[in-house]
Symmetry: none
Subunit: 207 residues, 4 copies
DNA sequence: CATGAATGAGGGTTCATTCAT
DNA sequence: AATGAATGAACCCTCATTCAT
């Protein structure tokens, strides 16, 4: 029993496959040369297809970059949410572990391929107002998620009772953002940076 | 006693003035419509000058954005360095005060005019590899400055002896960066965010 | 048995045809209005194509004029060399006949269409140093060919033994050049001029 | 008695002087970079004057090149006519001497400064239809002068009675033209070329 | 009279998009 | 369905010319 039930003929499958390849090729091009410096022809050439074909799969140049970002956003929200529900932890130690896990996850996404932060943080926001809003939405989403974790911790008492949950969430996410940007230049020492972030979070910097 | 000593005739002064106006108008346009969506003609029209005039003051479109960024970078590095030498403090309390001052400064720059973070963080990096590098340079500079403060604190003993100075500096700057981006949407509650950042820094989040 | 063996599909053939038409239209424009006064749009309009189409066939404006000149140079070198090997003659009479033939050929090329000498002698040299060099190369080539003929004649004894072959070749070519320029104003009496050139060559002017 | 009587005040003289300097500077620029590649600003800068000043002395860019050519044409017609009246000679030997003298003169003008033939033959004709006509006029003038010499010779019997005077004149001038162009690449061996021209004229090439 | 700041027409070139094959 | 030839809007930039100082 294959993955039937879905109405995917062989032709349909091929179409989806090519669609995916176009998204990937576009990601490559946009991340390497930049959105504006990339022509539709570049994307098509990289795939060895005619550039007219592109328009059978996507509305226009602006359309594809939305899909490229969709993909990256999905990856990130996946890392932020997958198997990491706020209420799955009940002690500070568990929380530390969980945040280490999330941090690990994000570090992998950003660190493994610097084109990801480059596209998301350096290319996308400059494309468009709409795209900039999308990126801000992503930040807000991440802040909301983090805030949820923090709230949980406050409720359970292992985090400071007077914690400004929302703003602290933003501050923490800022550190993650800083890590992502750092990975643009030095993709290697993500681990140490990640550790430093957690130290600040839990211990502060004072002696 | 004329206005000698200064190397500026009246014509010269007017020229410098126009030059400045062009930079400002370009900043406006780039921040509002984006670098790529802005034509030289737009900048000129906004000033009510002929677009050919633009080219008497700047080499080309790419040239002006460098000057716009120069200006913003100068403002920021000014805020980061002016009257805030690392060795001017010797206790944790003083350090808190100083960082509050710096934070205040930056918050003003970013918060007063959201076009500043928009241009610097959302427009500039997508223009060019070279420009992206400039922005990364700015991050690195800020990280180096912060690291210097931290080092000083470690030496004097009011900061943790085992502080990973460099990475902690990056983490802290990440929080500031996060604040700047937040100010794109909510320019108002910068103060609370700023406070939250400092709380994380000094007290951590744990209860 | 299809039209195989030839590497030209129908589309390919159409492409080459348009390419040729563009070259011809450019020749028309350049010869009539001059290179600098001609815009790419002029060339395109003359053909009834969009001016963007031009750039599918040629790199830029400078590129096409090279191709236009290529064509003319090919026509001329063809006339100078085709079926007119220096060693095909062995008497003065034959030589006269041959030079008459060559002269005839050139006169036809220059005289039939005054746009040819106009473009080659009046437009091209002013375009560029590189193009000027191309024209000088053409002169040198012609001089070398003529010198070869003369050498052959000296060896066989039907030309003066003390002939300064190279410089005489240049002098003779100068007369041809003069004819070409004359044809700019009076395309008709090329024949008489051609005859006068040959008289000078063989008999001199003295009585 | 000096050159008084003329209404030249000192200011007037200075003005004429500058006018001349502008013509010379324009000649330099046009010959070196080409007419189209030369800007009015280039000419002015070379002289160290403001480029607005240019327009106090000449109508426009097209105007100045006419004056530059005027100057060169005057030099050439001077060489062709000065002290060389057609009727000043009465034997073939004298004629040879005279043509040698004229050739010498022209060779000096063209050979001493290759910018002269470059401007006159390579730059000027491509500027304009009107300018091309001027150059053709110069050719015609030279042909007429040469024809006058030849006519005189025919009348006096030292030139062939059946000489096609006009066309032969064109042929001869063509040789001179060829010399001038040759001098663009090899300004040195003008003398030998000049000699070859005269040999062809008087002796033909046949043995 | 000299200057050079200002101007804008003009032209070369790119590239996203369409559509006939 | 795939293709790529054709298209023209759009934009950057130059430079001859004008004119207020």
């Amino acid at each position: 029993m294959t993955s039937s039930a879905e109405p995917v003929s062989r032709a349909e499958r091929k179409k989806l496959e090519l669609r995916r390849e176009i998204i990937d090729a576009a990601f490559d091009c946009f991340a390497e040369r930049g959105y504006h410096a990339t022509g539709i022809a570049d994307v098509a050439t990289r795939l060895g297809i005619g550039h007219g074909t592109f328009y059978r799969y996507f509305q226009n140049k602006r359309d594809i970059v939305d899909h490229v970002v969709d993909e990256l956003v999905a990856r990130i929200t996946g890392a932020l949410t997958a198997e990491n529900a706020p209420d799955a932890v009940s002690t500070l130690a568990e929380y530390r572990e969980q945040s280490a896990r999330i941090g690990e996850s994000l570090a992998r996404i950003f660190g493994e391929d610097p084109r990801v932060p480059r596209l998301l943080l350096f290319e996308a926001p400059g494309i468009d107002r709409a795209m900039a809003e999308r990126i801000l939405d992503l930040f807000d989403l991440a802040a909301a998620l983090t805030a949820a974790y923090l709230s949980h911790g406050v409720e359970l008492g292992y985090l400071r009772a007077d914690l400004d949950v929302d703003n602290t969430a933003r501050a923490i996410n800022g550190m993650i953002l800083g890590s992502a940007i750092t990975s643009l230049r030095t993709p290697e020492d993500q681990r140490a940076l990640s550790e430093a972030v957690r130290r600040v979070m839990y211990d502060g910097i004072a002696s």
